[in-house]
């Protein structure tokens, strides 16, 4: 493939005590694709995300993102390079409104320090306007604009998950990590999520998707990585993965009747 790789993971290992959560995995994510990572529970998907965003330090291996080595960087520095994420178990700021949550997403695009903020200098007011506008755009994309002033905790679960996506998008990331965005959503919400993920990709963001909902994964992703027991089982286009006998045996079982 001629497209440049945004993310290159090589020989990534993570052990917790004696448990090998990731046993040396390697893969490359081309830019501007929807790249899904699937695998049974405990395969190491969330561990991989937590390493990618700097929450865990891997035991071995390297992670190159857009020419930078991510290994060893703290989370806020990785975020500054253009990586944003959502969480499997909601990590919304329940002490804030929807708009404020999403404005936090724009943190890195603004500069106001504590002292300037305390004195409310005129540039602070201008920056505040700008943050508000960026947040508004992210809310618009996620179809949440009418919820902006509500407390984040007052929304139904499906919308809370969307607020997390909007918050991540407000950072204007190059790579967006979605950790089980469809978990807990009903069918209508899942279909809306599929459209949203496609809109995000169309906006120029590369999406890394960890998800169990197979119809969503198969219909939305351009490429898939299958993990099992911390190792790569297969990698390829959705049609190839669905036909792969190892994948069928390990993960999909006999039920491979999803629409291609």
């Amino acid at each position: 493939m001629g497209t440049p790789h945004l993310l290159t993971v090589e020989g990534l290992e993570q052990s917790f005590g004696g448990v090998m959560a990731l046993a040396g995995i390697s893969f490359q994510t081309p830019e501007n694709l929807i790249y899904a990572i699937i695998g049974p529970n405990g395969a190491g998907k969330t561990t991989l995300f937590n390493i990618l965003c700097g929450f865990y330090q891997p035991t071995a291996g390297s992670l190159r993102f857009n020419g930078h080595e991510l290994r060893g960087l703290p989370p806020h520095r990785i975020a500054a390079l253009g990586v944003a994420r959502t969480f499997q178990n909601l990590q919304l700021f329940f002490n804030m409104t929807v708009l404020e949550n999403v404005m936090v997403g724009g943190h890195l695009r603004a500069k106001t320090g504590l002292l300037a903020a305390a004195l409310r200098l005129s540039r602070v007011r201008r920056e505040e306007q700008q943050l508000r506008q960026w947040a508004g755009e992210a809310l618009e994309l996620c179809e949440l604009a009418n919820r902006a002033e509500q407390p984040a905790g007052a929304l139904p679960y499906g919308l809370m998950k969307r607020v997390e996506i909007a918050r991540a998008l407000a950072a204007k990331p190059r790579l967006l990590l979605l950790d089980e965005p469809a978990a807990g959503l009903n069918d209508t919400e899942t279909m809306a999520l599929r459209d949203l993920i496609q809109r995000i990709r169309a906006a120029g963001v590369t999406v890394l998707l960890v998800e169990h909902h197979m119809p969503l994964v198969m219909s939305v992703s351009d490429r898939l990585l299958v993990l099992d027991y911390g190792s790569v089982l297969a990698e390829g286009a959705p049609t190839d993965i669905q036909a792969d006998p190892r994948v069928i045996a390990a993960y999909l079982g006999g039920a491979v009747q999803y629409a291609v």
Binding site: H76, A79, F93, E100, H107, T112, A117
Partner: protein, 325 residues
Amino acid sequence: MRLVGFYIFAAIAALLPVLFPNNYFVTVVGASAGLHVILAVGLNLLIGYTGQISLGHAAFFGMGAYASAIMTTRFGWPGWLAMVAGLLVAGSIAWLFARPILRLRGHYLAMATLGFGIIIHVIMVQAMQWTGGPDGLAGIPPLNLLGWTIEGDEQWYGVIAAAMLLTIWLSLNIVDSRMGRALRAVRGSEFAAQMMGIDTASAKTQVFVISALFAAFAGSLFAHQQAFVSPDSFNLMISVELVTMVVLGGMASTFGAACGAIALTLLHQGLVVFEDYEMLIHGALLMAVMIFMPQGLFVGLSQVARRVWTHFRGRSTQCAESIGK
């Protein structure tokens, strides 16, 4: 719109001495309440908004007070310069201790800040040649600002009220800004805050320093207003009381903290008549507030007010309808 509450607060503070001239309760208790508001509003940035407990905040209050006391009485510095020195000392010490202390969470952070407060208190008692030991330091000269010497209860009320309004304004500005949201994000989910690019260690350090500066500012004013300082004003009980003000008023609300500070100050004054039973009633009232208004006095009472208001409006529209028929 953002500052409506601030203007109301300012109007009340300005009107009180006009409505009640020469009133001990307004000028003396009011000034004391004002200092408590400065302390509580600063501490609320740390506890209420950022979610980090401090059980040693009286230490910074004391640093400001002692810096002013020592520099003016022993070295003859002008009051404003001593105040700046106090802010620098408290700010630097807060900055030095913030990183190691604020790595801790929950109970451990409470213990560490408790220990910090006790150490500073011990220094105030033991460093006799500087602090005067348990007897404290007397004869602190009146504060002179730009040629104006602050004298008398009314003037002190005015100065402290202005200082109080300044800190409320600063606090409101901080909370409703990029950094304020970063602080609230730390409380909401430190994990997510980091992922959004917030350097949470740095954010916590900054808010710790700011709240220490607020406390030291109040301390300098306190030293000059009282003309006397002693370690008793900065012990563990005071630290606990400051936390109580924040929690009682309503966490994560600037006006909540301010109301908590005023309520607790008035409570102390009001209960003096009960003498031996003061602490008993004091404790019982605090328990009652926490049981019936766990979100704090300010939020709790504004909810009650809203309920009364809608009830009243509901009745009046019913009346209007019945008249209409």
